[in-house]
């Protein structure tokens, strides 16, 4: 099986490293592909949108309609996982804490609404322990993280942190506001064995 990682910008190698380790743990043999243009989408059995600067990812992909092609693939069943910037893309509603609305497009495929920079700037980034249903306890690193404050429809939160939800799932889509690939591979194992294998 081949899992794609959107590789225009952001921490791609850390995800790559996590997926490989996860496959070893599960004892499956597969590949990891770097998705930079449309025809890297072919033959994928799953996609991960990594953390990074959302604006420049958007800017870089806008020229090559990579996003639209991606939206289609996901809407018709390609399992997807998004971390931090990823979550921003997958959300239908996006607000910005300080500057109200920002005029930027979204993938907008999950019934969640996201507030950017919820905890403030880099200085307020923090590390904590989360106990995620079905995955286990993980050390979670929030970096300039957004927050999922509301969900509706078939979206289901897997954990709560204060009054927002760092992990939300909606059939074949998984959104996280923190970076599992920096501390653990349990999330990727779960992603592969549940969303992809099915």
């Amino acid at each position: 099986m081949k899992i794609g990682i959107l590789a225009v910008q952001g921490d791609v190698e850390e995800h790559e490293y996590a997926v490989k380790k996860a496959m070893d743990e599960l004892g499956i043999s597969g590949d990891v592909a770097r998705v930079k243009r449309i025809d890297d989408l072919r033959g994928l059995s799953g996609i991960i949108i990594p953390g990074g600067e959302s604006t420049s990812i958007w800017r870089l992909t806008s020229k090559s309609n990579l996003m639209n092609a991606l939206r289609d693939e996901v809407s018709n069943g390609l399992p997807a996982m998004g971390t931090c910037a990823g979550a921003i893309f997958m959300a239908r509603e996006v607000k910005d804490r300080i500057m109200g609305e920002t005029g930027q497009g979204v993938l907008g495929i999950m019934n969640i609404s996201v507030v950017r920079n919820f905890y403030g700037r880099q200085r307020e980034s923090f590390e904590t322990t989360l106990n995620i249903e079905g995955i286990g306890t993980v050390r979670a690193v929030f970096i300039r993280a957004p927050a999922i404050v509301k969900y509706w429809g078939s979206a289901k939160p897997l954990v709560a942190y204060g009054d927002n939800y760092p992990v939300v799932i909606e059939n074949n889509m998984l959104a996280l506001t923190f970076h599992p690939e920096l501390t653990t591979i349990l999330v990727h194992e779960w992603f592969i064995s549940n969303l992809v294998k099915k």
Binding site: A7, V8, Q9, G10, D11, V12, E13, E14, K36, G51, G52, E53, T55, S56, R59, L60, C84, A85, D96, I98, M99, T102, R116, N117, F118, Y119, G120, R121, Q122, R123, E124, S125, F126, E127, T128, T129, V141, F142, I143, R144, Y161, G162, H179, L182, T183
Partner: protein, 308 residues
């Protein structure tokens, strides 16, 4: 402005938090800006961050005099008008300018050789800060020394403000060769060589072992100094840079807008000649900045020799 208070077991500014953040800037371009307009240009061009200065390195070189940290107001303006991470430079050793930047919530601090140092012997002890720091280096030892003082990101010094990428190329090749030796010594189980290096570089042993094991610097490493064209940046990525800092190369040229986009493009798609060509077409040599041939610099005009 008020940030929501943290829950009790949230520890800010841990190593992971500080080292993790730069990982998010991979394949990105951070541009030197001196005001809001330039910052917005950078954002639209797809930069992953901006570096706020009082004067661009090229002008620093021309003006002479003492180069200090930028105005706090200018920095705050920028912070309020862009969404991408904002960073600023402080004079080497000036502990207090760093305190100020942290207090106003800058995302990344660059203890930089571009500004006039206030202390020739000691760098700032960066463990005492929650905000990540980036330092310049010319070779492995310098990099490891900065990391052991708490730097969470490294960049090549190159020769800032010359639009000539040759020093950066030299620093990266030196870096790669030294790391390679380390790795092969490590695999060869030749512990003594590791110890020697640890001794030469005056850094603790674990740090050397870690580097040898990973086969690379344990923190994100960007290329900086003299990048002026998409071809340059593609070259640096080809040499193994995780991303690039562009100084006067962009805003000292006549076509800053396109040059910014082109460099962003070439950085992200460096391993695809087609895209780089496209990018290369968006700029023209006439309007590149008038570089300086490093050879013609007298040794006390070199910025790269600052810092220990």
């Amino acid at each position: 402005v008020q940030w929501p208070v943290k829950l009790p077991d949230a520890v800010p500014g841990t190593v992971n938090v500080k080292v993790g953040f730069p990982a998010m800037l991979r394949n990105g371009v951070i541009m030197d800006v001196t005001n809001v307009e330039q910052a917005q240009i950078a954002e639209e061009a797809g930069a992953v961050g901006v570096m706020v200065l009082d004067k661009l390195p090229y002008d620093v070189r021309k003006a002479g005099g003492v180069a200090r940290m930028a105005d706090l107001k200018v920095i705050e303006d920028v912070m309020n008008h862009v969404t991408i991470p904002v960073s600023a430079k402080v004079r080497i050793g000036h502990y207090y300018e760093a305190v100020l930047l942290e207090s106003i919530g800058v995302d990344l601090i660059d203890e930089s050789e571009v500004l006039t140092p206030v202390d020739e012997q000691h760098h700032i002890n960066k463990w005492m800060f929650k905000v990540p720091f980036v330092n310049g280096c010319r070779e492995l030892c310098e990099a490891l020394r900065r990391i052991s003082e708490g730097a969470s990101m490294i960049r090549s010094k190159g020769e800032a403000g010359t639009g000539n990428v040759s020093e950066a190329v030299k620093h990266f090749k030196l870096l790669n060769k030294a790391i390679q030796e380390l790795t092969s010594a490590y695999r060869g189980g030749d512990e003594e060589k590791l110890r020697d290096l640890a001794r030469q570089c005056q850094v603790p042993m674990e740090l050397v072992t870690l580097t040898a094991r990973l086969g690379r610097l344990p923190v994100i490493t960007f290329a900086a100094g003299g990048i002026a064209t998409p071809a340059d940046t593609a070259l640096m990525m080809w040499l193994g840079a995780d991303g690039v800092f562009v100084g006067s190369g962009i805003f000292k040229s006549q076509d800053p807008k396109q040059r910014a986009e082109a460099i962003v493009l070439a950085t992200a798609y460096w391993d695809d000649p087609e895209a780089v060509i496209e990018a290369q077409r968006m700029v023209s040599e006439r309007s590149a900045m008038m570089g300086i041939d490093v050879k013609t610099l007298k040794s006390e005009e070199l910025l790269q020799t600052r810092g220990v």
